[in-house]
């Protein structure tokens, strides 16, 4: 069963399209990473799925319903981001209790234990917390609510690296114990890579890739060697990325669908073939130019 289904989903503010004709499905009980650069439209997409924003055209379904302003979707979805607003009049402890009164699957015991572990002060107010502490608190709510659809938009922003690791571990354990559909957005794939089952990569409001994390790791290969040899080899092949890496040396990234013969050719040309990490693939696929940042400096 698909929890989220989007068909030609488009969102525009005035004339600028923030989400452009996006189509994808998210299957039940998978952790999907929504990866994209800042401003790619991750947050907008997530807010449409969470039912906070209207979409402009196309179709979006969450639990087979239009999520906008939908009570059923709201009851089964939790959206965690760092703009989450909580009443300034209630202490953290009171907020946890309130959250517990809303969500049917809420695990208060878990919430309290996480609360203790991350040494939050129950008498403190949300607005007085540091950014990292706020993220931690929001994430605790996100985990303990056990919503069938849990959306976390950059949940670890502001957390220190120890807390991040702890949080991701907690997320994984919670997921294993109580499987649910999780969408985790991040601009850093590295950090969440191991947790994910699928990756949805978006670039400037458009879907770039949607595949399993393992396929993503095999998605491309890199070739390194003398510039003219690299040029010769990639002559008829579409490159994802091409970069000068030193005096007369180049590095090219292409899709991993070359025939054995082509790879043999590369060997003959003295090129070194490497695998490309998922993080790098995402970064190359979402960069504006094929040459990456180096391109900016190559005016020759």
């Amino acid at each position: 069963m698909n929890v989220v289904v989007c068909n030609n989903l488009t969102k525009q503010y005035g004339r600028s399209k923030v989400i452009h004709s996006m189509s994808f499905q998210l299957a039940e009980n998978k952790i999907t990473g929504l990866i994209g650069r800042n401003g790619a439209g991750k947050t907008t997409l997530l807010k449409i799925i969470a039912g906070y924003l209207h979409h402009s055209s196309g179709d979006v379904q969450v639990f087979s319903e239009n999520p906008f302003n939908n009570l059923k979707v709201s009851a089964n979805t939790i959206f965690i981001d760092n703009e989450m607003s909580f009443s300034q009049g209630l202490t953290l402890k009171e907020l946890l209790e309130t959250a517990g009164s809303f969500y049917q699957n809420w695990d208060h015991d878990l919430a309290l234990r996480l609360f203790d572990y991350f040494s939050l002060d129950p008498k403190q107010f949300h607005g007085n917390l540091s950014k990292g502490m706020q993220s931690t608190f929001n994430s605790i709510i996100g985990l303990a609510a056990r919503c069938p659809l849990t959306i976390m938009d950059e949940p670890t922003s502001g957390m220190d690296s120890g807390t991040r690791k702890d949080f991701y571990r907690a997320l994984l354990k919670e997921y294993i114990a109580h499987p649910r559909t999780i969408i985790l957005s991040s601009h850093l794939l590295d950090e969440v890579e191991d947790l994910l089952e699928d990756v949805l990569l978006i670039k400037s409001g458009e879907k770039c890739l949607h595949l399993s994390i393992d396929s993503l790791r095999d998605y491309a290969i890199g070739v390194r060697g003398k510039t003219e040899k690299v040029q010769e080899w990639i002559d008829r092949i579409e490159t994802i990325h091409l970069q000068d890496i030193g005096a007369n040396l180049s590095y090219a990234v292409v899709k991993n669908d070359r025939s054995i013969k082509e790879l043999e050719d590369a060997r003959q040309l003295g090129l070194e073939i490497t695998s490309v990490s998922a993080e790098d693939i995402c970064s190359y696929l979402t960069s504006k130019t094929k040459g990456g940042i180096d391109h900016v400096f190559n005016r020759g």
Binding site: L172, E197, I273, S275, S277
Partner: protein
């Protein structure tokens, strides 16, 4: 294998190799139940699907077999299969490298075979 050995192996391959090692040094006996994908996911801190892929890799090679509703168990001849597989893949890679290098250095087949024979003899004697 055409991809350089120095590049990182995918996690599910690492998991299946780890399981193979556990079977080879008999931490897990034949006909014993192996870890579930969820246990592996927790141990390696990865998504259960990834861990499951590692298990499936071994099931495909008949190292593990499935008991319905109970999980995956180690096959009776698991060790042999693993050894054979490793022999094949590892030696194949090395032989490939060796042959390639030999061609580049213009070493003829007979010369190469002699070199291998000598080295093999030497190592055996040392171990004896």
């Amino acid at each position: 294998m055409l991809i350089n050995a120095d590049s990182m192996k995918p996690i599910y391959v690492q998991i299946s190799e780890w399981l193979e090692n556990e079977i080879l040094n008999e931490t897990i006996q034949a006909d014993e139940k192996v870890y579930s994908q969820y246990q592996l996911a927790e141990m390696f801190n990865v998504n259960p699907a990834t861990a499951g892929k590692g298990i499936n890799l071994l099931a495909d090679d008949n190292v593990l077999y499935k008991k319905r509703g109970l999980g995956m168990f180690v096959a009776a001849d698991a060790r042999e299969i693993i050894l054979r597989k490793r022999k094949n893949s590892k030696l194949n890679t090395l032989v490939n490298e060796l042959a390639r290098e030999a061609v580049q250095l213009q070493v003829e087949v007979d010369e190469l075979v002699t070199m291998i024979k000598d080295t093999h003899q030497k190592i055996k004697e040392e171990q004896a």
